[in-house]
């Protein structure tokens, strides 16, 4: 793997053979995305689309037409088997290592406590159906399932699993998207110095800790639906000596008072939500922001129009339990922000092509808006 994962006290310990299986999975992921994926395009462009044109008088003009051509292709079937099979193998392999040491991880989390931060769980929180209905990206139990008391399984599984998924491309601490979000805000708004920061859908805290680093002195909160993620995130932040205040909340309707934050972020959250929930999230951001405050969401910037690109973008929707991905790619900017209360002239977009999956996620970046101060900007 090009980038090894940085050790911290909550990261799982692995045996010689577990590390070797991990390395194989990361190599297979990298190989599939770097070597197999690009050949789908050349197969389509050089062989399948021209053949379709010969028979039907033109290249496939719709996503459905592309689908009919591609899904009959043994090469496409092979690609799909590789990606889906690797995904399942990844969670199975890391999951076995996490299960083996889960009692020790729970003890570690209790020993680390919340450090300089805090953790507030809400057992009465009802999970939205869109989250409860599906194990996102085939991760068993999703981000929210408690399999035992004081569980940290989901957090431990995701922290190691996403590192292998990205074959190290998210950086040694899986935090490069969060680092990029903070940098984009600082570059776009020089001198912006938030006092209170909120990271929505914070998960294991990969994108939350970079906010504390980028804005020293700020009070940083993170909210997520998943208790096992938050327990893990809290202990991980303590292990890495960061003061983060985690709480179990629905990001679309938090319990923070109006005008509580100067900066609200999310990283890879929007594409896990259906459109009505995203719009509710934007409204909640507007409510929670102080005048002059900024919301910044790191995710897909758009959904391709070209039928082949759109078909391939939807692979994860069809085969990897990502049912809502298109919703984030087809958001209307600035209109959807205006509907939440922002001014159209305060909406911004910063392209941030994915470093590790540039071919696949070339349409990612940071979008957001600044809440207007009364009487002007």
């Amino acid at each position: 793997m090009p980038v090894p994962q940085s050790h911290h006290a909550m990261l799982i310990e692995e045996t010689h053979d577990e590390r070797a299986r991990d390395a194989f999975i990361a190599s297979l992921r990298e190989f599939t995305m770097a070597e197999v994926y690009p050949r789908l395009r050349s197969l389509y462009t050089d062989v399948l689309a021209p053949r379709h044109a010969e028979r039907h008088g033109g290249a496939p003009a719709s996503v459905d037409a592309v689908r009919s051509v591609m899904e009959d292709s043994p090469f496409y079937m092979g690609y799909s088997l590789l990606v889906r099979g690797t995904q399942e193998l990844l969670w199975d392999t890391v999951g076995e290592a996490v299960e083996r040491q889960l009692p020790a991880l729970i003890t570690k989390a209790a020993t680390l406590g919340a450090g300089k931060g805090s953790l507030t769980l809400d057992e009465s929180l009802s999970l939205p159906n869109y989250t409860a209905a599906v194990d996102i990206h085939v991760m068993p139990g999703g981000f929210h399932t408690d399999i035992t008391e004081n569980d940290v399984f989901a957090g431990a599984l995701y922290d190691r699993g996403v590192h292998l998924f990205a074959f190290g491309g998210l950086g040694p601490l899986n935090d490069e998207l969060g680092v990029a979000t903070a940098a984009a805000v600082r570059n776009r708004f020089p001198g912006f110095a938030p006092e209170r920061v909120l990271d929505l859908g914070c998960g294991a805290g990969h994108s939350t800790l970079p906010l504390a680093e980028a804005f020293p002195g700020a009070i940083v909160h993170g909210v997520d639906l998943g208790a096992p993620m938050l327990r893990y995130a809290t202990a991980r932040a303590a292990a890495l000596d960061h003061a983060i205040h985690f709480s179990q909340q629905d990001a679309t309707r938090t319990n923070f008072p109006d005008a509580s934050f100067d900066l609200i972020t999310s990283t890879l959250l929007l594409h896990e939500m259906p459109r009505p929930a995203i719009l509710a999230l934007f409204r909640e951001c507007h409510r929670l922001l102080r005048p002059g405050g900024i919301m910044a969401h790191h995710d897909l910037l758009r959904w391709p129009d070209e039928p082949f690109d759109a078909f391939m973008m939807a692979w994860t929707t069809r085969h990897n339990n990502e049912p809502y991905e298109r919703a984030s790619g087809t958001l209307k900017f600035p209109d959807d922000c205006v509907a939440a209360g922002f001014d159209a002239s305060d909406v911004f977009v910063v392209a941030q092509p994915g470093a590790y999956l540039e071919e696949v996620y070339q349409v990612s970046g940071i979008r957001g808006a600044r809440k207007r101060r009364e009487g002007g900007k």
Binding site: H16, D17, A20, A23, S27, V47
Partner: protein
């Protein structure tokens, strides 16, 4: 999925064998505790990454050889 899991096992087995050989070359017994505590150098990691890649190339050859992509595509047209 089963083939990929089996391939991961074979790869892990190969790396375990590699650890044994490197321990033996260093004059250390290939006992489990030494295998577990063995820490490969960057050069060894690079060798292993190359070996994994070569293994993946062999496993996926039937899918990926340039001619295979087109032969498979053209065979569809005759079906």
């Amino acid at each position: 999925m089963m083939i990929l899991a089996l391939a991961a096992e074979v790869s892990a087995l190969r790396e375990r064998l590699d650890s044994h050989e490197r321990l033996a070359a260093a004059g250390r017994p290939p006992a489990p505790e030494f295998v577990e505590s063995y820490s490969p150098t960057e050069a060894v990691e690079a060798d292993r990454a190359a070996a994994r890649r070569a293994m993946i190339d062999r496993i996926t050859r039937v899918l990926l050889e340039p001619d295979c992509v087109r032969v498979r595509a053209s065979s569809e047209s005759s079906e």
